[in-house]
Symmetry: C2
Subunit: 89 residues, 2 copies
């Protein structure tokens, strides 16, 4: 068993309105920042996962992202993986 | 003026407890996933920023991150920047 560090990025799909992003954009305007556009908010989920190899680790994390971390109707996700240097093997 | 696409990652500092991450970890256990550890949740903020050059764009985004996007007591942030291909110049 090896241990991997995974990072999942979850963003709203481009076609989905992002009220949280609009609120940040408005707040930036109120603070006097101009020249800012297209603010979109997303989530990061970092986790450590034990698996036999990188392929198994990635499959596990993608399944978790689909089932629990992202809403497939509104959101899209991407998974990045690296060996867990601190706690490998 | 050029237009840049910036991505800000905001994570809780390692020393700060992450109850949202603990909740996800527990939910994963309930769903039958084992071998998962150290779940940490963070935020992504994507935005477009107009500036004369990359240095000015980065400075602007870092100031925004400090003032509005991250809580410097509990959180740390990092900024990534690229030219906005879709709407350059």
């Amino acid at each position: 068993m090896m241990r991997f560090r995974a990072r999942v990025y979850v963003m709203l799909k481009q076609t989905v309105l992002d009220p949280q992003g609009s609120a940040v954009l408005r707040a930036l305007g109120d603070l006097g920042y101009d020249g800012i556009h297209d603010v979109r908010i997303g989530k990061i989920v970092d986790l450590s996962v034990q698996a036999e190899d990188p392929d198994e680790a990635r499959a596990k994390v993608e399944e978790i992202a689909k089932r629990l971390l992202a809403n497939p109707v509104l959101e899209e996700f991407s998974v990045f993986l690296e060996p867990d240097a601190a706690q490998g093997v």
